[in-house]
Amino acid sequence: MKKIEDLNYYELLNVSEDATLSDIHRAYLLIASAYSKDSLAAYNILSENERVDMLGRIETAYTTLSDKKKRLLYDKEVLKIEPDRNTSAPILFANDIKDEDDIKFKEENEKSVLKLTDLSIFGGAQLKNIREMKGITLDEISKKTRIRSSYLKAIEEEDFDRLPEEVYIRGFLRSYAGYIGLDPEMVSKNYKFKKI
C-alpha cells in the first residue's frame, strides 16, 4: 500500500512497465478524466489541493513516459530498469510504429493493467477535460487547425446533429487531438461516435 508520493510514473498512470505508447495515451486519458475539475469521481473525496497535485503528477508522468528518450532515462536512472528489446512485449513508441496491424499485434501481447475495452471508450467530455487542464481554448485550436469553433464544441458535447459526416469528424478529431498533445490516431479510433 504505497503513499501517493511513492508511486512511480507507471503506477500513477496504472500501466505496466512494458506498456506501449498507445497504452500510455489511453491511460492518460482515463486518469486525467478522474482528476479533472468537474470530475464526479473526485467529488467530496479529494480536496482541491489534492486534485490539482495529482493532476500535476499525472502530467509529469505522461510527459516523461510518452517521450522515448525521457522514458528510457527514467527507467534507467530512477527505476534501475535496463531496456530489453528482446522481450515478447517490446516497448513501442510512435516512431517505431509501422502500421495498424503492427500496433494491434503488439497490443495483443501486452499485459498492461488498462486495456481498451467496452468499459473504457471515451468521448468529448474527456477531451474537454484535457484541453482545459492544459489551458487551451477552443478558439486557439480553431485558429491553428482552421476548424470551426462550433464543430470543436460539438465534438466535445457529442452533439452529432451539429457535425458533418463521421469521416470529417475523424479528421477534426485528429487535428484537435494533435494540438492538445494526444495521439491523433488513438483519439480518432476510440472516440465514442454515438450516444448510449
Binding site: 496504472n14 479529494l46 473504457s120 448510449i196
Partner: protein, 322 residues
C-alpha cells in the same frame, strides 16, 4: 438437455454468496439482484435471492411475486427454525426467493447473535448461488452481511450523492473488516489507539490506519495487509444516461485505490431505460419482460464480467470459467 441449452458457464463446485449493496437507496440494487439471479438460473444454476432489506423490502415485487406468504421475519421472530422453510418458488425455473416483505422490522436492529444465526443459515441453503439484496446505509448489520459474502457488489448511480455515499460505504466496510479481524485476535485496543492517535496527522485512508497500527504493533501488519487486500468489491454503475461520463467506474476505481488504499473491480455499467419502470409497474421481472432491452443486455455483460473477474471466485478455479 440439448447442446444448445447447455449452460455457458460450468456449474460452481462450491456455493457462492453475493451481496448487492451500496449505501444509498434508489440506485437499483434490487433490479440488479433479480436480474443477475434470473440470468444465473438460466445458466442452469440453482439460485436463491434473499431480501435482507426488511425496512424497505421489495425484491419480491421485482421478482414477480405480489403477496409472498412467507418472509424472513418468520425466521427472525422464531416462527420457523429453518430458512429453507421460507423459500418461495418463482415463475422462473431454478430461482427461489426469500422475501423480506410486509414487516416493519429492520435488519439494522438485529442483535449480534441473531445476525450470526442468520448468516449461518444462509450458508446452509441448498443453492449454487445465493444473492443478498442489502438495504441502504452503513449499519454494522448491513456491513457484516456485505462482508460475509464471497463477492460484494456495490451499485452506484452517476450522481454526486451516490458517489460520495459509495466512498463512505467502502470506507465503512473496510474499517468494519479490520475491526472484526482485530477483535478476533483480541487486539481491539489497537484500533482504538490508532484512531485516537494524532501522530502524523488525521486518518484519511486505510493506508494511514495500517501505518499507525504498524507503529503500535508491527507483528500483525503483514496479516492485516493480507486481510485488506482480500477486500475486493465489485462496482456496477447503474442508470447511465447519454451525457454521463462513461469512464466514471474507472475513475472511482483509481481514486479508491490511490486515496483509500482499496482495490475495486469495475464490472460494468447499465444504461438508464424506461423499460425498468415499465416492468416494475407490470410486476414482471425486467429480464423476462424485456429480454432484448439495453438494460438486459448490459446485465448479461456485467454477469459475464462478474464470473470472469481477475480475482478468482472463492471455490472456483478461474481457469474453468469459459
Amino acid at each position: 438437455m440439448s447442446q444448445i441449452d447447455m449452460p455457458l458457464f460450468p456449474l460452481p463446485q462450491q456455493k457462492q454468496i453475493w451481496a448487492v449493496g451500496g449505501c444509498k437507496g434508489g440506485t437499483g440494487k434490487t433490479i440488479v439482484t433479480v436480474s443477475l439471479g434470473i440470468l444465473l438460473s438460466r445458466l442452469g444454476h440453482r439460485v436463491v435471492l434473499i431480501d435482507t432489506d426488511l425496512g424497505g423490502a421489495n425484491l419480491h415485487t421485482c421478482a414477480g411475486i405480489r403477496y409472498p406468504a412467507k418472509t424472513i421475519s418468520d425466521f427472525l421472530l422464531k416462527k420457523t427454525n429453518s430458512l429453507e422453510d421460507l423459500l418461495t418458488e418463482t415463475s422462473i425455473e431454478n430461482l427461489k426467493i426469500i422475501s423480506g416483505a410486509n414487516d416493519s422490522l429492520t435488519i439494522a436492529n438485529l442483535p449480534h447473535v441473531q445476525k450470526l444465526k442468520l448468516i449461518h443459515h444462509i450458508r446452509r441453503l441448498p443453492a449454487d448461488y445465493i444473492i443478498l439484496d442489502l438495504g441502504a446505509g452503513t449499519s454494522f448489520n448491513v456491513l457484516d452481511i456485505f462482508l460475509m459474502a464471497d463477492s460484494g457488489i456495490v451499485v452506484i448511480t452517476p450522481e454526486p450523492t451516490s458517489v460520495e455515499n459509495v466512498y463512505r460505504f467502502i470506507k465503512s466496510a473496510i474499517l468494519r473488516k479490520i475491526s472484526n479481524y482485530l477483535s478476533d485476535l483480541k487486539y481491539n485496543d489497537i484500533l482504538k489507539e490508532a484512531v485516537a492517535s494524532k501522530e502524523n496527522g488525521p486518518l484519511k485512508s486505510i493506508r494511514d490506519l495500517v501505518e499507525k497500527i504498524n507503529r503500535i504493533d508491527s507483528s500483525i501488519s503483514a496479516s492485516l495487509e493480507e486481510k485488506i487486500s482480500s477486500f475486493y468489491p465489485k462496482v456496477i454503475i447503474n442508470q447511465v444516461r447519454a451525457n454521463d461520463n462513461m469512464m466514471l467506474g474507472m475513475s472511482i476505481k483509481d481514486i479508491a485505490n490511490k486515496y483509500l488504499g482499496v482495490n475495486l473491480d469495475y464490472v460494468g455499467y447499465i444504461p438508464y431505460d424506461e423499460t425498468v419502470h415499465e416492468s416494475v409497474k407490470k410486476f414482471k421481472p425486467l429480464i423476462i419482460e424485456y429480454p432484448n432491452c439495453s438494460v438486459s443486455l448490459c446485465m448479461s455483460l456485467t454477469l459475464k464480467k462478474l464470473l470472469n473477474g481477475k480475482e478468482p471466485l472463492r471455490g472456483i478455479d478461474a481457469g474453468q470459467i469459459i
